[in-house]
Amino acid sequence: MAEAEVNSYVVLGAALFMLLNSAAICVYAERRIASFIQNRIGPNRVGPLGLFQPLADVVKLLLKEDVTPVQGFRTIHTIAPMIPVVTALLTVAVIPFGDGIYVTDINAGVLYLLAAASLGVYGVTLAGWASNSKYSLLGGLRAAAQMVSYELPLGMALASVVIFVGSLSVVDVAVAQENWWFVFLNPLGAVIFIIAAFAESNRTPFDLVEAEQELVGGFHTEYSSMKFGMFFLAEYMHVVINSMLITTFFFGSYHLPFAGYWLPEMSTTAKAILDITVFTGKTAFFIFLFIWVRWTIPRFKFNQVMSLGWSRLLPLSILNFIVIAAILFAINA
């Protein structure tokens, strides 16, 4: 028992450290991959291959003067950038990284993930409102409407996964995919979940929230210095976390494909190393997918985003859920 507790604290520290660093690596990867896609070189001056670029960015953000508009609501303006970072950190607590390697295993893990994910909306919306700028207000409202709309297909897609498992614990979801990844059993759900995850993390093609051609900076028009840095950090943490969630719920978590059929017994250490490598590899692939899509697909218009969410994805996800439930009933009966 004591050993397990120590273990979970080690994982806790490692998870926090990893998440904060992965956001920094993600910023570098984004700029570098973007420039390769656009046939440029990208940042290559700071350190070898420009690897220290995120550090330089952080130093720059720390040293910048902080400007808070006098017309705004000062307190909320200060609190707003903290919310998305903290909620993004909260999400990672229930994700298993390997067989028995997780921070905590609560029996309402999926509901907890949904709850923590929806709290992130507050940061963006309050930031938009508290700035008292027209651009920020529009950006914040768009963020609220968009994130709220895409949470419904996201939730339905999660429900259509949980139906196979019969448990709301995320660890059980991961264990249940040892033989068959849920993407094979529930491909439509996987597509819906990935689209909704893109919209939830406000990435292109759904980055209406900060559409710079029409809204300047969107909700963070009036933010500068480290407060802006927090929004910046939160965006990349959401990319990392959504990649983790896609991996966990649909792409077999830490399991290799059909691992239950062919993977031999291994020692605990070897299995742990393999699990973490597989999980990290899959997550890295989905982060790459996020970046790839961002620099390949143009942005939607807001009416297109809304009609995609409400009149396509939501009915489709409900239909998908009912069909899967009926099939499972028919098989069991």
Binding site: L61, P69, M82, G155, A159, V162, T221, M226
Partner: protein
């Protein structure tokens, strides 16, 4: 069980500490030289006109209400999903009816156009012989109706 949530509390504390610490460090080392122009709300360099606390499209509000209904529906689905293997077809049809009832409301909203964000086409009143004034959508113009020289824009060009 409580200990499991304790770990989540640790995450919350660590996250809040990290954010507060980095904001505090930034506050210590950054310069602070405000002036009136800097502190003004940004509006493309112009002096801002009025406050930003303006009336906005009430579709955002309708979206919020719709979200509430569906989110509650999804949350009610989760406990059902946990136990549905044990309770058989009756549970399936009960949930089917529940989802279907909410879906009727959704279809009504969709048909009413409350979730439609496209700009509505103008409705132009038209006089029809024997019927009276009717609201009618403007008919599409034929692709090539008249020769280009007869267009008024070109004629004014000639006169000037």
């Amino acid at each position: 069980m409580i200990a499991d949530f304790g770990n989540i509390l640790l995450f919350l504390i660590h996250g809040a500490l990290f954010v507060a610490l980095s904001l505090f460090v930034a506050k210590l080392i950054r310069p602070h030289r405000p002036n009136a122009e800097k502190l003004m709300t940004y509006e493309c360099g112009e002096v801002p006109i009025g406050s930003a606390r303006v009336q906005f499209n009430n579709r955002f509000y309708i979206i919020g209400l719709m979200f509430l209904i569906f989110e509650v529906e999804i949350l009610l689905l989760f406990p059902w999903v946990m136990v549905f293997q044990d309770i058989g077809w009756f549970a399936f049809w009960a949930m089917f009816v529940f989802v279907f009832l909410i879906f009727i409301g959704f279809a009504y909203e969709l048909g009413k156009g409350h979730l439609q964000w496209d700009i509505p086409r103008p409705v132009v009143p038209k006089y029809v012989e024997g019927v009276g004034v009717v609201d009618d959508y403007p008919a599409k113009e034929p692709a090539s109706s008249e020769p280009a020289l007869d267009e008024p824009a070109l004629q004014t060009g000639v006169n000037r």
